[in-house]
């Protein structure tokens, strides 16, 4: 167990692992997303309240869930890079940021497209969507801070610290926005993702969640390969890897 953990800190091992995992993750993601799409669009019955518009949750919920999860992964990976000086931690954080930001974008756009028929407006300052928007700002902050540094090592560490500060703030932001919304008595239609769902509605959602998670893994591996090559340009193993 521990030796495996130590090996994860070694760039050539990570590069090989990412190369080996990419096709499997991609295939898994493709299968799960395809199954989720067919199940969600064709087999799931229309919701008794929201009609067919509820099908939007099949992309909205995975996007929102993954955006949060990827932010947490980014912060943890950054913390590992910061505390134990493990370069691969920073590489994972760098590779995760754009993917997570794109998932927030999915959640925001699909959420507001869902809001139009439900609330009559694209943007009703719904607390979850507002938190999602602030999460997007946090992602943008981390990415811009990193790219502002000419010295990439320093940029990595500064961005990691900001991600950690952000991850402490995410629940606070979520709570405060919810609190704020409860004051203003916003739209109170049963929100996306009711807890009690019939199986025919639930399994496509789970398939999509799995598909999005595997997709994140696949893109992470692909980006990680690039990141590792960038960071290890001078080493001998890269010379061997690039030549082949």
């Amino acid at each position: 167990m521990w030796t495996w953990f130590y090996r994860l800190a070694s760039p050539p091992y990570v590069y090989g692992l990412a190369t080996a995992l990419t096709p499997w993750l991609l295939a898994g993601a493709g299968l799960a997303i395809a199954a989720g799409l067919v199940g969600g669009l064709v087999f799931a019955p229309p919701d008794y309240q929201q009609g067919d518009a509820f099908r939007i949750i099949y992309v909205h919920v995975p996007g929102a869930f993954l955006s949060l999860m990827v932010y947490c992964i980014m912060a943890v990976a950054g913390a590992i890079g910061l505390i134990w000086r493990i370069k691969m931690g920073h590489a994972v954080a760098v590779a995760s940021a754009p993917v997570g930001a794109s998932f927030t974008l999915i959640a925001l756009v699909t959420g507001s497209l869902w809001g139009k028929p439900m609330w009559g407006t694209y943007w009703a300052w719904d607390p979850r969507l507002t938190s999602e928007l602030i999460l997007l700002f946090l992602y943008v902050g981390v990415m811009s801070l990193r790219s502002a540094f000419e010295d990439s090592q320093r940029g990595d560490r500064a961005a990691a610290l900001l991600a950690i500060v952000g991850v402490i703030n995410v629940p606070i932001i979520h709570f405060s926005v919810q609190w704020w919304n409860s004051l203003h008595q916003g739209p109170t239609i049963a929100k996306i993702g009711a807890p009690s769902m019939p199986g025919s509605m639930l399994w496509p959602l789970l398939a999509m969640l799995l598909g999005f998670a595997l997709f994140y893994g696949a893109v992470l591996c692909m980006r990680l390969r690039g990141e590792v090559l960038n960071r290890e340009r001078q080493s001998t193993w890269v010379r061997e890897a690039v030549r082949s």
Partner: protein, 258 residues
């Protein structure tokens, strides 16, 4: 700290460490060489305050900025006076956040540029103490000053005088919290040439809970209902940032000074 950069300066291992006395730097001109932690913090704070009072334009500019922003909204919205009162908490708080951010850029920058910060870090007092002292001094000259000016703005925004006490205490808590958050942002961007916009980009999303609770406390003070709830939450945020932010900011400074 990378080995290369440490050897370059010759004092590598001792930099930024909180360890007591560092041989070879005892005669450094930085304050705090022979005093306790509190004494050093007081010395740094006094130096900061003296520096700001020597250049009064730096004191006045954020306040004028605050006044200008609060003037923008009524002019742009062309509201009735009664409607203005509904907008007032949001306008007041938005303006307060923006004008305290304005001067944050300089929190560590001038001292980092001329090497004072490195000297302070070498004084053996630990970066955390320096961060606390500098941030508190910054809050005194911007946040506290803003709180003192706020009744003026509040009157113009048609906030009743009965709400002033609550409004000012919430603003005091809020600006202090923002100063702590801002110290992290300023420390992260201290090595960058154009960090000003970046600080806002980093700090403002983190400050949104502050705006929500602060504006809500002010709103309740105006309408005469109990503002205890948001004030408690604001206090909780202030305590949380006061305990955590100095460590985060000093870690960020360490990254920048390495």
């Amino acid at each position: 700290m990378t080995p290369g950069s440490a050897q370059g300066t010759g004092v590598g291992p001792a930099r930024g460490d909180a360890a007591g006395s560092v041989p070879g730097v005892a005669e450094s001109p930085a304050p705090g060489a022979g005093v306790g932690t509190f004494g050093a913090a007081a010395l740094i704070m006094r130096r900061e305050l003296r520096l700001s009072f020597r250049r009064p334009e730096h004191l006045v500019q954020p306040l004028v900025f605050f006044l200008i922003i609060t003037t923008l909204f009524p002019l742009g919205l062309s509201l009735q006076l009664s409607q203005l009162r509904d907008m007032a908490p949001g306008v007041l708080w938005g303006a307060a956040l923006l004008s305290s951010l304005l001067s944050l850029d300089a929190l560590f920058k001038s001292d980092a540029d001329d090497g004072t910060l490195e000297q302070l870090a070498l004084s053996g007092q630990g970066l955390t103490v320096i961060v606390i002292a500098k941030t508190l001094a910054h809050w005194l000259v911007t946040g506290a000053a803003l709180v003192l000016v706020s009744p003026l703005v509040a009157t113009a925004l048609d906030i009743p005088a009965s709400a002033f006490a609550l409004m000012m205490s919430s603003l005091a808590l809020g600006t202090l919290t923002l100063s702590w958050l801002g110290s992290i942002g300023a420390a992260l961007t201290v090595g960058l040439k154009r960090g000003n916009v970046l600080i806002s980009l980093i700090v403002l999303p983190l400050a949104m809970p502050l705006l929500i609770f602060g504006a809500s406390a002010t709103e309740r003070a105006i309408s005469g209902t109990s503002a205890a709830g948001p004030l408690y939450l604001l206090t909780a945020l202030c305590v949380l940032t006061t305990t955590l932010a100095p460590f985060a900011a000093s870690a960020a400074l360490k990254i920048s000074l390495d």
